[in-house]
Point group: C2
Chain length 246, copies 2
Amino acid sequence: MEAVLAQNVYDRADFFAGYSRLGRSVHGLDGAAEWPAVRALLPDLTGLRVVDLGCGFGWFARWASAHGAAHVRGLDLSQNMIARARAETAGDGVDYQVSDLETAELPEASFGFAYSALAFHYVEDFGRLMRSVHRALVPGAGLVFTIEHPIFMAPSQPGWSADAAGRRVWPIDRYGVEGRRVTDWLASGVVKHHRTVGTTLNTLVDAGFAIRRVVEWAPTDDQVAANPALAEERDRPMFLIVSATR
Amino acid sequence: MEAVLAQNVYDRADFFAGYSRLGRSVHGLDGAAEWPAVRALLPDLTGLRVVDLGCGFGWFARWASAHGAAHVRGLDLSQNMIARARAETAGDGVDYQVSDLETAELPEASFGFAYSALAFHYVEDFGRLMRSVHRALVPGAGLVFTIEHPIFMAPSQPGWSADAAGRRVWPIDRYGVEGRRVTDWLASGVVKHHRTVGTTLNTLVDAGFAIRRVVEWAPTDDQVAANPALAEERDRPMFLIVSATR
């Protein structure tokens, strides 16, 4: 019952309505402050078959298609998101499928690049998924993904507080206690799966990947100058970005 | 002037006296709660030439020698520590040198395994050191090291506090601001160099290493049962353990 709730949250009216209003949902990739750092890790997509795991409204899928990918397949559990992705995508360079990353079986040796943005932390069996992605990639192919950073996800009370001197701090606890985290974000009772940075990377290594880059995202000076509110992201990372190759 | 102060803290009387009283200084490897996790990452040392970077009193160097290493070289900046290591080591399976990891030039392709415990976070130019270690290892050789975890090192006030509900929390700030951290630990004004987990791993990759294991140490159930005070280590990691191969 809990698993079903967790999987279906994205299509709940309250979550979907909130998700649709996020800056990154309205403005696409340029509405995501970490996108320049992610983009810097992408290979040349020219001629590659690409899979986007948890594609949401299809912003990256369309971007990859426009940047030379031979074909892009977008997968998402949410029927609402897939419906909107299809409605906003023209041409035959991209197709979308409703698919649950918890159980999806990807076709073997079928993709030259795999991408995922902020989806894997909703997946409980990350090892199974990484083995499936590894099998689905051709040798030498890349995987770039972002997840909510475990420092952001771990705490019992994941929000800023102030220390005795009035300094903004992020109160960590339970970092080493992996497993479910239930938070209210866009909707109540959203289930995520906390894994440490170490466990995330070791799972990749065990699946056969080589680690290429690990970025605990923080804004650049230019980004903070343009948007001073981003400065708090230097106090604790919200996003973990990983690049690996098969 | 500052660099000289940083380098010489280990031989200051106050620091050295405090260091000598630590559980891990008195009881050796078994006095370090993270040792079983580190040991699990070690290769079979039989017949290997080993270098221990920041060897302190030589506990690991002697352990490696007793566990089959062909030869162990221990390096440490502290003349006091090297003097004591020499005094406590019998036989010719281990030698010690006073050497600054900030500038040490290791002999090329000379070691089959490199080890370091809680020393690299005192080194400012980690990239230089990793390139030097990579050159000093034979192809396929392993590197296992521990550092103070950046979650532990980052904060302006690195100590436990309580949240509004009285819950023990570790107040993070400045995680994304890399560089010097000056703390009072055993002595006043001890300089460490904060790098994120990502920067630490990327530096290894850039030097040519393959990442094998990343462990953000937390105690086992058995360890907490035997020593309940260790439970707090589950709330935030104190140690980062990395295994890599050339």
